[in-house]
């Protein structure tokens, strides 16, 4: 089982609580971006293109806690930028663990070995290591050679020290399905708890606009990658999201499922699109025209998007929203030994 029972129980009871109270729109994972600075400049990333004075800014630990409390989501993902470059990252993690939030600290792992002694293993803390495929593909995606080896070394150390570790893989066009299958074997052999997968999104600000997947291509690629799935592969994703990626089920986007907070405020409408900011979570939820986003909306920016921050919350909602959804999830899970 890729996700611990306690975490599944927390998420299930949270979602069911929202349903019971009749709350239609609720956050599942807060995307907390405490900085935009990074020690890499990947061609597919649209998050770091800012003037120097903006890149030097950080959310304080107190600002992070305020956003987490305001949002109320049971899980907090800390992307960036590179969170391990944040001067208060240890305090931020400690504060979130104290709040019993399940944290996914997303890192390229360049600083992980150096910083590990400052953290304590906890069921609430997972290092989600950015790994975009085997050595050659990964180093190519991050535009720097040698990063794969550094990350593998850091994963081994973190796993050995008892930390929860997952990998986080964004797949772009041109990847070889067999290479990715072999990569899954390699990652599981490192002892990671599970793997996260998502197709890339064509950020307007990302330098690379040609290597992102379109919907049908995405489905075909994931069908090829996930065919005859090996029992040893563990995914840190909802089984229904994996079905969605392969085109076996169709979902609408849940853009409010992974709200994003950073130095500018609460980002409208989602983690990927930047159409403005509001200063409170309440404003984000109540004032955003949600009907303008997702496949059905006809919004060009959403047309080909199948990224986990929009569709994983839908899959989770589907799982706990009806007996049919729950049974479908259970079947998908059992079929692949998840």
């Amino acid at each position: 089982m890729a996700v611990p029972i306690s975490q599944m129980w927390t998420v299930a009871s949270y979602v069911l609580g929202q349903k019971f109270r009749g709350i239609k729109r609720y956050p599942l994972v807060l995307m907390l971006e405490p900085l935009f600075r990074c020690n890499l400049a990947c061609a597919g990333c649209g998050k770091i293109q800012y003037p120097g004075h903006v890149l030097r800014k950080n959310l304080s630990a107190e600002q992070c806690f305020k956003a987490v409390d305001e949002c109320g989501a049971p899980m907090v993902s800390i992307p960036g930028g590179e969170p391990l470059m944040h001067p208060e990252i240890v305090q931020i993690v400690e504060g979130l663990v104290a709040r019993k939030k399940y944290i996914y600290l997303c890192t390229n792992a360049i600083l992980l070995e150096e910083k590990l002694p400052q953290f304590k293993p906890s069921k609430y803390l997972t290092f989600s290591v950015h790994m975009d495929g085997p050595k050659k593909e990964h180093d190519f995606a991050v535009c720097k050679e040698g990063v794969y080896d550094v990350a593998v070394s850091a994963i081994k150390v973190a796993v050995k020290q008892g930390y929860r570790v997952t990998t986080n893989t964004t797949l772009f066009s041109g990847v070889e399905p067999d290479h990715i299958r072999s990569f899954f074997d390699d990652m599981m052999a490192l002892g990671v708890e599970g793997m996260m997968l998502s197709p890339g999104y064509s950020y307007q600000k990302a330098p690379d606009q040609q290597h992102f997947l379109q919907k049908q291509k995405t489905q075909k690629l994931f069908q090829q990658i996930l065919r005859d799935r090996k029992k040893g592969w563990k995914f840190n994703l909802s089984p229904l999201f994996l079905e969605f990626l392969q085109g076996n089920v169709d979902f609408e986007c849940t853009p409010w499922g992974n709200p994003t907070y950073n130095i500018f405020g609460w980002q409208k409408p989602c983690y990927l699109l930047q159409e403005g900011y509001v200063q409170t979570f309440k404003e984000l939820m109540e004032d955003t025209k949600w009907e303008d986003y997702g496949h059905k909306s006809g919004n060009e920016k959403c047309k080909d998007c199948m990224v986990h921050c929009g569709y994983e919350p839908t899959a989770v909602d589907e799982t706990f929203g009806s007996m049919k959804g729950f049974v479908r999830t259970a079947k998908a899970a059992m079929a692949h030994g998840l």
């Binding site: 800012y50 003037p51 004075h53 903006v54 606009q209 403005g276």
Partner: protein
């Protein structure tokens, strides 16, 4: 707007004589990944990153991070006399094609 299109905005000084021109220029400033210099009607200037624009309210405004301060600043449209795209466009000039060419050249050498 694509990164390529953005590139052309660097050093651009839009005409903002009409309301439409001002609104359009501020939309582009919001989309731009470099600093903007705003000239206010009192003659003072502000240099910084425009991260938000709220144009559908009675008194439209932009939010920016001035380059020399750590606090967000709100500037009302009605107070703006002009603007210029003075900062380096951080989203331009790092194309995938350039990286790919470098990578291939390196592969051929090794």
């Amino acid at each position: 707007m694509s990164a390529a299109e953005n590139k052309s905005l660097e050093k651009w000084i839009p005409t903002v004589a009409t309301k439409e021109e001002l609104y359009d220029a501020l939309d582009k400033a919001f989309d731009y990944r470099g600093d903007i210099t705003i000239t206010l009607k009192d003659g003072s200037t502000l240099v910084g990153y425009v991260f938000n624009r709220t144009s559908n309210v009675p008194e439209p405004y932009i939010d920016m991070y001035p380059a020399d301060k750590d606090e967000k600043t709100k500037v009302f449209y009605k107070d703006i006399a002009g603007l210029a795209f003075t900062g380096f466009d951080t989203a331009a000039g790092k194309s995938w094609a350039v990286w790919l060419a470098k990578y291939k050249a390196k592969e051929q050498q090794s």
